[in-house]
Structure formats: C-alpha cells, structure tokens
C-alpha cells in the first residue's frame, strides 16, 4: 500500500452554506412542538441559548440540520425549526457523517448525551473526531441516564449510588475532553448549561471551526442527578473552581484573579497568584495539544476545578472536504461513461 499526496483544499468555516440577509430571531428557530423536558432540566437553558445564538450565523434556516441519538438531550431537534433527525442510540455521528459528506451546503449539528456519545456510541464519536468531519457535536453531560430513569453513566463518579448500582458504581469515568483530544479532535470546548454567555462563546467558536467541534456542556438533571454542578454555579467558592480559558491570555481565575495555572512536571497545577511569578502563569494557546491535554486533566471528577472555554482549536483538512475534492478530481480527470463501464475491456459479439 502506498500513500499519495492528496492536494487538499483549504476551506473556511461555513463556506458553501447559503446565507440570508433577512433578519432572524430566536422565534424563527422555534418549532411548533411543545418542549417536553422535566421542569428545571438544564436542556431548557441550552435550547434557549441555541435559539438565541443561531440567528447570529446568518445562515438560511433550511440549510441547518440537527441530528441526534437517543436520550433526553436527543429530543433537541424537535424543538428547533430547522431540518432534523432523531436517530438511533449512539449513531448520530455516523448518520451525520453521511449527510455532511454528501451535502457541503449544510451546517450539520449533532446533539448527544454522555450515555449516547460515550457509552453506546463511543466508537462513532471517536472516529468522527479522528476524521475531522465538518460536524458540531454538542455533548450534554449530566453524568446520569435520565430517559431510562436513573442509572449511572460513563461520566458518573465512582461509588455513585443509582438504581443499577445500589451499592455504589464500580466504573471509572471518562473525562470527555481528554478522550476527544486523544481521538485527534481539532476543536474541543466546554461550557456550563446555565452560563449563557460562555456557552454562546464556545458555540460561536465551534460554528466557525471547519471540522469536528466537540462541545461538552455540563448539564443538570434535576430528577436523577439534581444539583450535580451546583458547586460551579453558586456559593462562595464557585469562582475558585471555574477556570475559564481565553486564547493568548494568562490563565488566572478566582476572585480578583487570585488563582493561577502553572506548570508542574509534564502537567499543570493551580497556585495562588501571589505565590508565583507572573512569568510562571501559563498563557493559553489553543494550538498546543499538550497544554490542552494538561488542562483537561485539571478538571476533576469532583469539580474541585472545572476548565471551561476552548481547549483546542487547530486547522486540519476535513474528511468531507477531502472526499468531495477527490471525487471531483477523478470526475474531472476520468469522467464516468456508463456504456464503456458496462462493456469492459473484453467483449465478444454473437451475430
């Protein structure tokens, strides 16, 4: 087997997706379907942010598609007045890959959850990230199975008592950001469901990224995992737990920037800002894979710290662009001739 130079094109984020000059509002993206999530579900906040954010893209509504798997989060497409498909448990990235490859004029979004993306659909998520298909994958992580009424998920903490683990879960959880980075993701970000500004910012960055963008959204399930992210939302020390990232800026957080992220060995640690020199504070660079990975490891399962924002954003040719370029190239060089194909090379004639 030999490798060949592919001569791939460089294409901008939303190039090829038709835009509109008409003013759009959140209402334009609201379908006529009644939203059926439980009262207090974090999905409401994400939906509201999404409806408010989509007009900003200026894309024609009919050229936006939401594809989801199965789970509470996967009902998302029903509530947006775009094209949508509520598909099969875990398979949304695969289905969206076929759509994205065959339709460059669409902005394709995948909505999934921790069970959908990381358990039953882990394989498809991994391969979509590796290929860098032009998809925006929103992973609603509530660390529980909601739709099946409360079993532990692949992001639940060890020891969690649930219906299926009455003596405590024995499973070690995934860190979705670390997983995505390990799967060659070109864009990885995280936000909190209730943080409209932060969520909008990462959605904006994701939409502008050409390639697979994985956005992990911490989302609360008030029925089966109530208050699971409350320590990041309120209380005195929420500020000292959340580490927001900004490209090119030193990573400082906490009240008045009292805390900083500094290097330690091959990783990072949190230090008091007044105990370290300014030069020791790590400056965020979304192109630095090692830094992104180290940042992902700062996010503890117990939420002592939670890093938000864009961990990684780099440009790499997308799979779907490459596929189309290859087909177009062959088509130009050797256009198909059906009659010739059917005859083949060796024919004989019976009179």
């Amino acid at each position: 087997m030999t490798a060949v130079e592919l001569g791939l094109p460089a294409i901008g984020a939303l190039d090829g997706v038709p835009t509109t000059d008409q003013k759009q509002t959140a209402k334009d993206f609201t379908s006529d379907q009644e939203v059926r999530w439980c009262p207090g579900c974090g999905d409401y906040a994400i939906l509201a942010t999404m409806r408010g954010f989509l007009p900003e893209l200026g894309l024609r509504r009919e050229n936006i598609v939401f594809v989801s798997g199965i789970g509470c989060s996967s009902r998302f497409p029903y509530y947006l007045d775009t094209y949508g498909m509520h598909s099969i448990h875990g398979r949304a990235p695969a289905i969206a890959t076929g759509l994205s490859v065959s339709r460059p004029d669409l902005s394709v979004w995948v909505v999934t959850g921790d069970g959908d993306a990381l358990s039953i659909g882990g394989n498809h998520l991994m391969h979509a990230l590796r290929r860098n298909v032009n998809l925006k994958i929103l992973l609603f992580n509530n660390r529980i199975y909601g739709l099946t009424k409360g079993q532990y998920s692949p992001t639940s903490e060890v020891g969690k008592r649930t219906k299926s683990t009455p003596f405590g879960s024995l499973d070690h959880p995934f860190n979705p950001v670390s997983l995505a980075l390990g799967a060659e993701a070109t864009f990885v970000a995280r936000a909190l469901d209730s943080d409209r500004r932060g969520l909008s910012a990462v959605l904006r960055a994701a939409a502008r990224h050409r390639g697979t963008a994985l956005v992990e959204i911490y989302q609360d399930c008030p029925i089966f995992n109530d208050g699971s992210f409350d320590v990041l939302r309120r209380g005195e020390d929420a500020e000292s737990r959340l580490i927001p990232l900004e490209a090119g800026a030193p990573i400082r957080f906490g009240k008045d920037g009292a805390l900083s992220v500094v290097r330690e060995g091959f990783g990072l640690r949190v230090a008091k800002s007044d105990e370290v020199a300014e030069s020791e504070v790590v400056v965020h660079d979304p192109a630095d894979l090692q830094l992104a990975f180290a940042l992902s490891r700062l996010s503890d399962q117990d939420l002592t710290h939670a890093v938000t924002g864009v961990f990684r954003s780099v440009s790499r040719p997308t799979y779907d662009d490459a596929v189309r370029a290859q087909v177009a190239g062959v088509r130009e060089a050797q256009p198909g001739d059906l009659g010739k194909l059917l005859r083949g090379r060796d024919t004989w004639t019976v009179a």
């Binding site: 498909m85 598909s87 695969a94 890959t97 076929g98 065959s102 194909l341 060796d346 004989w348 004639t349």
Partner: protein, 635 residues
C-alpha cells in the same frame, strides 16, 4: 469423458493428433492458496469467454489468507464449466482436475469421475509434502489413480527452466517458480485450443511495474503451451465450439461486479449521487472495492468504522437526497438491523445488500448459503416490513440491483438485496445492456407545502395515494423544514404521536405500502404443459434447479420450474401458481426458509429439499430428488 458427448473426431493437420470436439467441459484448477489458482481460473474463464463459449464458474477458497503451505486447509480451487450451448451451472464434477500439490489432489480427487483426466505437478510430490497431508505412499506410484488418465508434469522445474533460459531478466528462483500456475494455464490452453493473446496482454499489464516478472509469467505460459505441443504425452486435444447465445455483445462478469455496476447505473439513471457506506467483510468487500474505483461517476464510498456506521452514514446521505447504499454479509446484516428499522420508519430510500454466506455467527465466510431470508424478512424489532429481492445468476445481479433501487426510490423504503457467495464470486457471460434501454429512475423531491387543509404547512408523512410513499423533502428546501425520527409519528403531519389508534394505523400503512409494491408476475417454465410437479426456487439455486429440470425432462418426465426474484412482496399470481400443481418442491441452501413462508402464506404443503454444505446444489443431485418426486406423483 463422463457426460460429454464427443461430437466428432478430427485429426489436427499441424500435429497429427486427434482433435475431439466436445459440447462441454468442466475443468478444476486446485492448488495451494498461494499458488494463484483463482487467477489461473479467472484467466481461463476470460479465454473461454473471448472464444464465445457459454460458461459458469465456481471459485472455492479457504477463509484463511495463507493457511500453512501444502496443507489440506490451504487448498484453493476454481471450477470452470464451458460449453457450446447455454449452460446453467459450474458443473457437478470436473472432467479435468489440475492438482498443483498432494493436498490439492487429496482434497479434490474424490470429485473426479472414473475416466477423468488428472494433471499433476510432480515436483510437489515430495515425501515431506505427501506426509503433510497423510499419504502413506505416493499416489502417483501406488496405482490408486489407475481409474484416471494421469498426466505427470514437472511443472515447477519446467517453469524454472523456461525462465532460466533468459538469465538477463534476473528473475529469482522463487519468482520463477511462482509462475508455475501460468505453465498450467498454458498447457490447458493448448489442450482446449484457447486463444492466448488475451492472457499474454493481461500478464504484461498486471505486472507492468515489474517487466521481468511479466516476462517470466509469459515464458511460463508459453512453456506450458509448448509442452503440450511438443511432448508426446498428450495424444488428444479438445475443441468446444462457441455457444449459440442470443445475438448481442457479451462480456464475462462476476456477481459482485454486476451488482456494483447496477449501483453505478442506478446513480446515472436517477441523476442522484450515490453514497456507499460499508465495512469490509467477505464476500461483499469486492463491491466496495469496485465502487471505490468509480468516483468518475460521482460515487462516494465511505469505509466506515463498523457495520453500523456504514449503514448509518448511508441513511444520512439518503436523508440528504442521495441513493444511500450499504453492503455486507453474514454477521454484518445482524448489526445493521436497527438502522434498517429506522429507515423503515423514516421512510427513506436505502439499498441494503447482503451477500449471504454460511452462518450462524462467523460461520463459513467464503462459502455460500441462503440462510438470511427470514432475517431479511423479519429480523428487526417491531412490525418492520422491507421489500426483499434476490438475483438468480451473476449477471442478473445487475438487473436485480436496478429493480431494488427502483423500489427504494419509488416507495421511499429500505430494500434488501440478497445475493450470495456463489453469485458474488461466480461468473458467466453477460449480454451487455444498452444504456438507453435501462429504466428511468428519476425521482422528484418535494418542493412545496402540501397540507390538505390549506394551512401552507408541509406534512412529511402525507402519502401518495397510489404508492403510499411519503414526500422526500431534502434539507436545503426552504419552507419544508421538518423533523423525523425513530419515535412513532402522527399520520400526515409526522409529529411524535403515542396515540393508540394512530400507531395501529401507521403500522398498517407501512405494511400496506410494502405489500403494494408492484412486482412482475411469476413466470412458469412448463414446456409440456402437463407437469404435476412445480419446482420453485429463489436466488443462486436457479442454475442447478434449471439444470436438474433439463435432465428430468430429457428422461421423458414432466416438471415445471419457476424462480422467485421478489420475495417480499411475492408476485400477485404466486398463490394461483402454487395451487395449479399437485406438488411443489422447494430446494434451498438453508433449512427451508422459503418453504416456511409459503406454507404460512398459502397453506401449501410444499416439499422442502434442503442442503447447507456451503456449496451450490449439484444438477445430478437435484435430478435424483426431482425424479423421485415426479415419479411418486405419477405413480
């Protein structure tokens, strides 16, 4: 030679040797997996095709890529039947067996009838190789092969000698010896008066980047030919005249190639892009390989991370307005079940190709079987009907594929196309169709609101009254934005509905849509019009059943034959046909799956004749079975 009528005997002016004219011959090449037997068989097939014979082939090889050299599990063979009339099968038993080593002899000699011709490569009959396969003595010496006409040829050393005569080529001993299969091909080509230009051209093209190897193979091929021509050991050569087939242009084609071409043609005739999502699996992979070469037609091939992603991506492409196709075999079809179910409820076109192989589980990856019929019919959760189509011969894979795509596009449904290992790798002459005569598969996407209440809304599940198909509204169409999914949908509007009566209605509507697919009536071949017994088959058993019927009729008995291409829905006249005969016999390479369906549907007391040996039925075997039944009824 057995079963071969020698039409006349001539004397060849050139060699002074007798030339026998035959109407048909079956040759089997057998050797080690690494000996290139499939290639040798393919080339002889091409020569026979180019000469104008009718032909049918049966490759038979192990699932292991290279089992230990010289062992029984490593034996690979290729059987070829060629004739001067239209034949239906690759032949029950070889008239000529070429055995490249003791393992090949041991594995195949039982199929060679008394009086058959055996050509062996004596160089491989060493003490060590004989012991490896359990021969105590040397069968070439101990008289155990006396029933056959044995030609002992030192093929390896003769090949090496021929190549060594051109030292400037600098071909290694190993590479020279590897060309011994071409020596065998040359010898057989001489024996059967085959044209040689095609093979020499083929070898030069195949090894274009290694001209010395190409030359070595050509030298071996010519050495084989010359060996026959110059040595005295072959007293006779044989001629099989071109077959008198229907007028037209022919080519040789395998089932997998014909199926792939059918997919290309479907794209061309519909004007839609084709998207193949597939995961490699034997024996379906060649369809993926073939389509990957045809990007010039705008075909996209996606080698997915698994079977589920393959069909998922295909369905995603269908949602976007492409012809979504997925190809698989064996356990792969089980993995795709859930997505087929989604496609049924989404009511989107999708072509699902299952090249059946021996099961259950991994089963017999390289052997044929027809045991996925019930899975194709029912292997999903819920009431989940899909049209099912099965081609009957390698060439028929082309037309069956176009038919399957026509149904998928017209009725917005996944369609299961059931090929099998024998069709996939088998080959036959194929009357090349004219592109203009292929069916028009063009479809219309929905472009405007359709609500019957005049609300200006788009109802994605409003049905065409004739076909019951729903509109295909692809993303990018303004004003038709809609959401579809695996949850039950309300009739018409397509919104989620858990309403009891609606579910009952939707289940029945989906069933009615598939039941209403228009398929041609079943045609019965009953030449005397006096048959009491009908033999009904489906899929690749067409050849052996047809050959079996010919033999029964030649013996003066009456038998009717019919073959089902459409297994769901059945042709409308099937019940009437079944009731017209006193007995119905259904031979299948499974444990009676079609028979089960027919018994359930038509209350017909069909006789099921089944075999699951991984190999096609033999004409002789079916002749016996059918004769017994016909005579039993007439008695």
């Amino acid at each position: 030679m057995r079963n071969v009528a020698i039409m006349s005997v001539d004397s060849s002016a050139a060699t002074g040797r007798a030339v026998h004219k035959l109407d048909r011959v079956v040759i089997r090449f057998a050797g080690d997996s690494g000996d290139g037997m499939q290639l040798t068989g393919d080339r002889f097939t091409s020569e026979a095709a180019a000469f104008g014979n009718d032909l049918a082939t049966l490759p038979n090889f192990p699932a292991e890529i290279r089992a230990p050299q010289g062992t029984l599990p490593g034996v690979s063979s290729f059987q070829l039947h060629f004739a001067d009339y239209d034949i239906l099968t690759p032949g029950d038993r070889p008239d000529v067996l070429v055995a490249m080593n003791p393992a090949a002899l041991k594995a195949n000699v039982a199929d060679l009838p008394r009086g058959g011709t055996l050509i062996v490569n004596t160089d491989e009959f060493t003490r060590r190789n004989l012991t490896k396969v359990g021969y105590d003595g040397d069968p070439l010496q101990d008289g155990s092969l006396d029933a056959f006409t044995v030609h002992k040829v030192a093929m390896t050393s003769l090949t090496r000698g021929a190549v060594d005569a051109r030292p400037e080529l600098e071909v290694s001993k190993k590479d020279a010896e590897r060309a011994k299969n071409m020596f065998a091909l040359g010898l057989l080509s001489w024996m059967y008066h085959r044209p040689t230009e095609g093979t020499e051209r083929f070898l030069r093209e195949k090894f274009a980047s290694k001209p010395a190897i190409a030359e070595a193979n050509v030298l071996a091929f010519r050495a084989g030919w010359n060996y026959g021509e110059t040595t005295e050991s072959f007293a006779t050569t044989y001629q099989v005249a071109p077959a008198k087939l229907a007028p037209g242009t022919y080519r040789q084609i395998t089932g997998n190639a014909a199926l792939a071409y059918g997919i290309v043609a479907a794209g061309e005739r519909s004007g839609l892009p084709v998207f193949l999502g597939s995961y490699p699996i034997t024996p379906a992979s060649d369809i993926l390989h073939e389509l990957s070469r045809h990007k010039g037609f705008g075909i996209t091939t996606f080698q997915a991370e698994d079977e589920i992603a393959g069909i998922g991506a295909a369905l995603g492409a269908s949602f976007g307005g492409a012809i979504g196709v997925t190809t698989t075999s064996g356990p792969g079809i089980a993995l795709k079940s859930e997505t087929i179910g989604l496609a049924v409820t989404l009511e989107l076109p999708l072509l699902v190709v299952d090249v059946q192989r021996g099961g259950p589980s991994t089963g017999l990856p390289t052997k044929t079987e027809q045991s996925d019929l019930l899975q194709a019919m029912f292997g999903r959760n819920g009431e989940c009907p899909v049209p099912v189509i099965a081609p009957q011969s390698p060439g028929d894979c082309f037309g069956a594929t176009l038919d399957a795509v026509r149904i998928a596009l017209t009725y917005r449904t996944p369609v299961l196309l059931l090929s099998d290992g024998a069709l996939a790798n088998g080959s036959e002459p194929w009357l090349v169709p004219s592109v203009d005569e292929l069916p028009d598969l063009s479809v219309e996407f929905a472009t405007a609101a359709n609500a019957p209440d005049g609300s200006g809304e788009f109802w994605p599940y409003l049905r065409d009254p004739e076909t019951l198909a729903r509109p295909w509204a692809v993303p990018g169409t303004a004003g038709l934005e809609h959401r579809i999914g695996g949850l039950e949908k309300g009739d018409g509007k397509g919104n989620i509905s858990y309403e009891p009566d609606n579910h009952d209605r939707m289940v029945r509507l989906r069933q009615a849509k598939v039941d209403g697919v228009v398929v041609p009536d079943l045609v019965v071949d009953d030449p005397s019009g006096e048959a009491d017994v009908l033999v009904l088959g489906w899929g690749s058993t067409y050849g052996p059943i047809g050959a079996g019927c010919r033999r029964v009729r030649r013996a003066g008995l009456n038998i009717a034959q019919a073959h089902l291409r459409h297994l769901n829905p059945f042709p409308a006249n099937l019940g009437e046909v079944l009731r017209s005969y006193r007995r119905v016999v259904i031979p299948e390479m499974n444990l009676g799956q079609l028979a089960l369906l027919l018994r359930a549907r038509f209350l017909v007391d069909a006789i099921s004749y089944t075999k699951v040996a991984g190999l096609p039925f033999k004409a002789e075997e079916l002749q016996g079975v059918l004769t017994d039944i016909v005579q039993g009824v007439e008695r």
